[in-house]
Structures are given as C-alpha cells and as structure tokens.
C-alpha cells in the first residue's frame, strides 16, 4: 500500500524535531531512512505506526487518512531494534498473539502461524521461548510476528544493529527476500549506509529532521545533491579538498593540485571557495590530474588496501587499491584523480 507523509511535523514540547516533511513510499517499495543519530528517523517511524501523535500534517495509507487513528487500528507491523518478543510466551504464542487479539479462530491461527514460520524458516523453533533463541532467530520471529496480520506496511527500526557482522549479512538478504516475497511496503530505519544501499529500492537521507535527498542507491551514490549526502554514502568515505576558483581551474591552496572546472562551475567568480569531493576509488595510479603527497596511513582490508595521502596543505585524500606491498607509511607518491568523477560543492554544501 502506498504511504504518504504530507507536510508532517513533529515537536516534543517546544523542541521541533521534524518540520514539514513530505515523503511518499510506493506500493511494495522498500525505503530506507538513513541518517546520523538524532536526526529524527525513529520519530518518523513512530509517527507512521501511531506511537507518536503528529503535531502537524497528514499521514495517508493508500487514500485513507490515518493521522488520528490509534496504533491498534492502523495495521502496521513493527520490528523493534531489541525485537521486543514476549519473553513469557513460546515462539508460536508470540506469532499468534496479534491473531488472537484480532479474535481469529484457533484453526485459522494455527494455519497462519505455520505459514509464517515457513516463510521466515523457523518451523523447528516454534515451541521454544525467546530466551532460547539466537539473535538471528529472534529477529526472524519478530519479523513473523510483525507480518502475520498482513499489515499495510512493515516498519523496521535498526533491525540489524544487535547482530554480529556475519549474521547481519545473512539477515540483510533474508529481510529483503521476505519483503519481496510478501510484496509488502516497508520502511527501514538505519544509520548504516551499507544496509540501506543493499536492501532498499530507494534511500531517503535525513539530516536534522529534513529529507536531504531521496533516490535509488545508485543514483544517490553517483549523483549526491549535497556534501552531506556524498559524505554519508560510500565506505571508505569520500574525502574533501578545499579549493578556490582560479581561471579555468580549481586550485587547492598551498599545493600544486589544479583540477579542471566542471561544467556546472563555468560561471563561478574568480576566488570562490568550493569543496571538492573525491571518492577513494577515483584516486590512485590511474587518472588525469596528478596529486603529490605523503602516505600517512595504510589500512589492510584483505583484498584491498586503503591509503591515506596527506597533501602539502595538510588535507587528506583516500585511495583504495588492490593490495600492493611497495608502499609504506611515509613514502612520497604521485597519484592521480579521475577528474570526471569528482563532485564540487559550494560553501553551503550544495552541489555545483
């Protein structure tokens, strides 16, 4: 079902957390709300499910205005960060709880619980209690419980934050599989960009209660609208250089770096300060604009190495390259930037 937040605002007392947010989530789409801690992701999620009353604006499920509906009547499935399973009930009872509340017959309850258990692969665990399950299994139970009522929308608040790295990888694809199989509209809250990029159809990046950009993961990565977005996506993260417009080039003061002006920067006045974003994969032995510097840090990631290169003016560029052993900390090197892949931002962080 399509979800629409129409000029939604939320304030806690005098503190305004979200102002005039408009966000549309398509039917069957999985959307990530991505942003730093405290930017209002959970607040948005809790407004959708009805735990928080909105202070302004409307929330629509399909064409139905649910703004003033209590959570019980919204039919929203929520998976909490801590899973919030009912510890005194078995897995079966946990999944059955929403159905029992809805007054379904016990035959019907049993049938739907089995169906859900099959979907999330927990059939052998139905008679255990939550305390006897691993984190990933608890996660599956929480998903089953959230989905068993066939909700209009599934909300996930940092569902993977409590899992270890390997399980996180597994559950990432599991959640996506279940979402695709059920065709449910889903909103995933996360501050992990990898999760957002790998699991979702679209990403909405939030900062301080506003949506800065909303796009598919690829679009977002290749065409960030602000320096904030560029800095948020990508691991290892993008590096920024401070530059000044000088003639038909951007120069980095106190260094010999001269980058060609990109198209959007044609009519910038001489001396305008800009910031240049360079992703680690676009800086290395291959490229067209040479940059000299000293290696200040090397991090081995197994298949690749991450190098930090300190420029003459003290700023740092990152480069990711296949593992090589000929370079060590302290070496002077000259690598190049692929100048057609750089992003330029003005002093407010807007893309030029």
């Amino acid at each position: 079902m399509r979800i629409l937040l129409d000029k939604f605002s939320k304030a806690f007392g005098a503190v305004s957390v979200i102002e005039d947010m408009t966000l549309e989530i398509g039917d069957g789409e999985m959307l990530a709300l991505l942003g730093p801690s405290g930017c209002g992701k959970s607040t948005t999620l809790f407004a959708i499910c009805g735990i928080h009353k909105v202070s302004g604006g409307r929330i629509l499920f399909g064409d139905r205005d649910v703004t003033s509906l209590p959570p019980q009547e919204r039919n929203v499935g929520v998976v909490f960060q801590s899973y919030a399973l009912y510890p005194h009930m078995t897995v079966r009872e946990n999944i059955a709880f929403p159905l029992r509340i809805a007054g379904k017959s016990s035959v019907e309850v049993a049938r739907q619980v089995d169906e859900m258990a099959q979907l999330v692969h927990i059939e052998p665990l139905l008679d255990r209690r939550p305390a006897e399950l691993s984190g990933g299994q608890q996660q599956r139970v929480a998903l089953a419980r959230a989905l068993v009522r066939r909700p209009h929308v599934l909300l996930l608040d940092e569902p993977l934050a409590n899992l270890d790295a390997k399980l996180r990888l597994e559950m990432r694809s599991e959640i996506r599989r279940i979402q695709l199989e059920t065709g449910i509209t889903a909103v995933l809250v996360t501050h992990d960009q990898v999760e957002a990029m790998s699991m979702c159809d679209r990403i909405a990046i939030m900062d301080a209660g506003r949506i800065v950009q909303i796009a598919t993961p690829t679009e977002m990565y290749n065409d960030p609208h602000t320096a904030f977005v560029a800095g948020f996506l990508g691991n290892p993260p993008i590096a920024f250089l401070r530059g000044v417009v000088s003639g038909d080039a951007i120069v980095v003061p106190q260094s010999d770096v001269r980058l060609p002006k990109p198209n959007g920067a044609r009519n910038l006045a001489e001396g305008t300060r800009v910031s240049v974003g360079i992703r680690p994969e676009n800086f290395g032995p291959a490229g067209d604009v040479p940059v000299r510097g000293r290696i200040s840090f090397v991090e081995t990631q197994g298949r690749e190495n991450l190098y930090d290169l300190m420029l003459a003016d003290g700023s740092v560029l990152r480069s990711i390259q296949p593992v090589r052993s000929d370079i060590a900390v302290g070496d002077e090197v000259e690598w190049s930037v692929a100048s057609d892949r750089i992003f330029m931002f003005d002093d407010k962080g807007e893309r030029i």
């Binding site: 499910c49 735990i51 959570p71 019980q72 039919n75 929203v76 499935g77 929520v78 909490f80 960060q81 801590s82 919030a84 399973l85 009912y86 510890p87 005194h88 709880f97 929403p98 509340i101 809805a102 419980r145 959230a146 009522r149």
Partner: protein, 274 residues
C-alpha cells in the same frame, strides 16, 4: 573450594554469636511440651497440656481456631488489597503520562516514610464514626492503606525494568492498553507480585498495634492480640501456655519464609529477574 576455606572463620563467629538464640528457641520449644519441677530448669516429664488450647476453649476467650481464621483473613485480605492496588497504581506511575505524576510519586514516597502510627488516634475516631471499629474489615482497610505506599513503590520499580518496546509491540499487534498490561506486562512482573503478596501477608500476620487498638475485643481478635491478652491476664498467668501460643503463632511465618525465601530476596533485588 577456596571460598570455603576463607569463610570458615566467619561461619564460626556467626555460630558462636547465634548459639544463645538457637538454644533459647530450642529451650522454648522443649518447654512447651514438658514440665519441670519447681525451681529447676531441667524437664522431668513429657506433657501436651500446654497445647491443650488447641482443642479446649477457655471460658471468656475465643476459640484459637476462630482467632487463627481471623488472622488468616486479616493477612490474606489486606495482602490481596495491597497487591491489586499496587500492581495497578505502580504501572500507572511507571508508564502512563498522568497529570501530577511526579506529585503522586513524591506523595507515595512521603507516605511510605511517614510513621503511620502517629495517625492512630485519628484513624480510631474515623473508624468509630463509620462504624468499623472492632471489626475485621476496619483493620484490614487500615493495614492495607498503610502498606500500600511501599507496595506501589516496589511495583513501580518492577515495572520500570520491563522494556518499553514490549508494550509498544503489543499495541502495534492490536491489543488495547489494558490487554497489554494484563497479558504482556503483568507476566513480566510476576516475581514482584508474588514477593509483594508474601511480604504484605507476613507484615499483616505480624501486625499487633493496629488490631490491638482498632479491634481489641469481640469476634475480630487476631492471634497477636490474643497472645497479648494472655500476658495481660493477671489472674491466671500461664507462662507455658504463652510460649505454646507464641510458637503456634510464628510457625506459619517460619514455614513461609523457608519455602519462599528466594522470592523475598527478589524484593530487595529490585526486580531484576533471575
């Protein structure tokens, strides 16, 4: 292993210190089933006459079983009242955003610290006016009211440890706030409820001043008052009878305590579930 070796001096000291107490209790028990010749402390014959109060009612007194029933009624009913009210009030104070919440919290704290006994004259007058003086219902209400602040505070502590998300999950699953409380939250605080019930029961069972002042005679007499009336009786003062009734009175407490001591510990542990 190591722990045992380190702790034996402590155990020795404790044993020596508590030996007189243990001996006194043992002697108390022996005294109730034997007779000693005058002037001696060594018993010379076995007898059950000191326990005859169990099957013989003395003139002018209530039957011991009637008194025991009163005590049981008094203790269970006031404990039940305390548990029912505390489990609800504690939840409200812990979770719901009621107006004046901090005022109520402070009030409960203050009431708990307040020496209720200073109110006894006022309570006495009130009970007489409403006609509950010398009745079991009167003391039950008063006792429950006095224990309630402690109960509410304790239950609030237990509720505070229940994760907020569990309730939110319940609400999202379509349950009403009341169903969430009854089906999801209450089972989490069961150890607390149980401990509080036991605690309130023991408190009421041991209560003396309130029944003594508010229901001293007539059919509402409870065990503690009955026991006190034995010593107050100057005419036929019977030390052995007093001891036997005393033993009879504390027996249930000891049994409850030994059976449920883990639950009672729970109350001091602040509700972290084991």
């Amino acid at each position: 292993m190591n722990g045992h070796q380190k702790s034996w001096p402590i155990i020795l000291v404790i044993t020596i210190l508590s030996a007189p107490l243990v001996l006194a209790y043992a002697y108390l028990f022996v005294d109730t089933i034997t007779n000693s010749p005058p002037g001696s402390v060594v018993p010379h014959e076995f007898t059950l006459e000191h326990w005859s109060f169990l099957w013989q009612t003395r003139p002018g007194r209530l039957s011991i079983w009637r008194v025991t029933l009163n005590s049981l009624l008094f203790a269970t009913t006031s404990a039940a009242l305390v548990v029912v009210v505390s489990s609800m009030a504690g939840y409200v104070l812990s979770r719901l955003n009621v107006p004046g919440r901090s005022f109520f919290l402070a009030g409960v704290m203050l009431l708990h610290a307040f020496p209720a006994i200073t109110l006894i004259v006022a309570i006495f007058i009130v009970l007489q006016m409403v006609g509950l003086y010398n009745s079991l219902i009167g003391v039950i209400l008063v006792k429950a009211a006095i224990d309630m602040p402690l109960g509410i505070w304790l239950m609030k502590g237990f509720y505070d440890t229940v994760p907020w998300e569990i309730e939110m999950a319940g609400i999202q699953d379509g349950a009403s706030r009341f169903t969430v409380w009854r089906k999801l939250v209450l089972p989490q605080v069961r150890p607390g409820i149980f401990a509080l019930a036991l605690f309130a029961f023991l408190l009421a069972w041991g209560e003396f001043i309130l029944p003594q002042v508010l229901a001293p005679s007539g059919n509402a007499q409870v065990l503690s008052v009955y026991l006190a009336s034995l010593i107050a009786d100057d005419n036929n003062f019977d030390m052995a009878l007093f001891k036997s009734v005393g033993l009879f009175y504390i027996a249930p407490v000891l049994v409850l305590f030994f059976v449920f001591q883990n639950y009672l510990m729970n109350i001091y542990g602040g509700g972290t579930k084991g």
